[in-house]
Subunit: 208 residues, 2 copies
DNA sequence: TGTGAAAGTATCATATCGTAACAATTCAAG
DNA sequence: CTTGAATTGTTACGATATGATACTTTCACA
């Protein structure tokens, strides 16, 4: 489980969940085979790129035939550890945080939001989307062996909470705050900045 | 305004809003100068990359001194068209959509969410975060010369609404639905898939 | 006036991407 | 059984981006 295929490009790794989800829906539709060309049209990734992505894992398809949906799906299930659910905590139950809580992640995913934290007494000790909300002061008490955190708190609180998460042994953080947080090098942070995404889109509209 | 500097790499263009915002906060702190090295530590981008990014726009700094924060800020304000506000519409006032409405974009940004659309009678004709919410049926009536749309609707509605937006002459779409939407080639789509972001983070945790 | 700091620029190695091409292989039709 | 069409797996190539390193130039400041 802890890798030999380290050679897989990051860009490929990012596409794997996308492939998986689409294969899943094909499977539900009852399709048994699919070609890289069909996949390409659906997920909007070049067909040669798809074939190369797949080939990092060996020969998964059959020439002149395509890929067997079920076989491919099973393969990805294992590779993406779809069976082994990763526990996630959500920090900050504002609008964005609530959106996550209502998102049904477990449907196609190997992740589960186990708990959420906030300071708002109107939210603490409630259940939102089936997830218990605790007070942020009790972070250390409840977090247990959660391995990743979604950070949807106000920017000014980001670093302080990050430090506490790190102290609790968190392995990864999905940071939605505009703040650039500092962490030890062994902790992985993915940063998604909604304002920048919008501004960047606008820049491209005007200049390209 | 409509480009001669088309040579700027996309990767650089994506970093510009980030630079801008950070310079802005430096300015508010009263700092008058900054070096590429300082910037590098704050925005987590290699200092040489920053210097190269800046140099696409000419000589903005002074050797042996650094960059004048105010000068640089003014320059970016012009380059990023910070003065000329781009109108944006938000489609789908769920949790995620509401998060956008409460986000104070105009503070550091050249974009303004002018209106929102939804089907929920409890939201239509209300103001949320100072933004008027109209019924999605009236999209064509109100949208006017809005140039970009934020799509935060259920996945199954994504393509139909996209088609209508395209018909209305929208130039860009920020797509937060899991659906991969099809658009004419002259329309720019940036796709952010929250589930995939989370799953991708988890994959990296396990395999790298 | 001298010196140190930092920009601007160039170069190199590495990674990724899209595109194209091609041989090998397989299915399916006849 | 044979043939042909389809599609993979793989390779090659050019374009783009990145991080590193290093060099020269120029400016600020002591």
């Amino acid at each position: 489980m802890y890798m030999d295929q380290n050679k897989i490009p990051k860009a490929t790794a990012k596409r794997l969940p996308l492939y998986y989800r689409f294969l899943n829906s094909l499977h539900l539709q009852g399709k048994t085979r699919v070609s890289s060309k069909e996949l390409s049209e659906s997920v909007k990734v070049d067909s040669a790129t798809i074939r190369r992505d797949f080939s990092y894992f060996g020969a998964l398809g059959k020439k002149g035939y395509g890929y067997n949906v079920e076989y491919l799906l099973n393969f990805f299930r294992k590779t993406l550890d779809q069976d082994e659910i990763t526990k996630v905590a959500l920090i900050g139950v504002g609008n964005l945080g609530t959106a996550f809580l209502h998102y049904n992640f477990t449907k196609n995913n190997n992740t589960k939001i186990e708990m959420a934290f906030d300071t708002d007494p109107g939210k603490v000790d409630h259940n939102i989307g089936g997830v218990p909300v605790y007070h942020i002061d009790d972070l250390e008490k409840y977090i247990g062996n959660v391995s990743a955190a979604i950070l949807t708190v106000p920017a000014h609180a980001a670093q302080a909470i990050t430090d506490r998460l790190v102290e609790c042994g968190i392995a990864g953080i999905l940071n939605f705050t505009p703040a650039r947080i500092a962490v030890p090098s062994n902790i992985r942070v993915h940063h998604i900045d909604l304002a920048i995404e919008l501004q960047s889109l606008v820049y491209f509209l005007k200049h390209y």
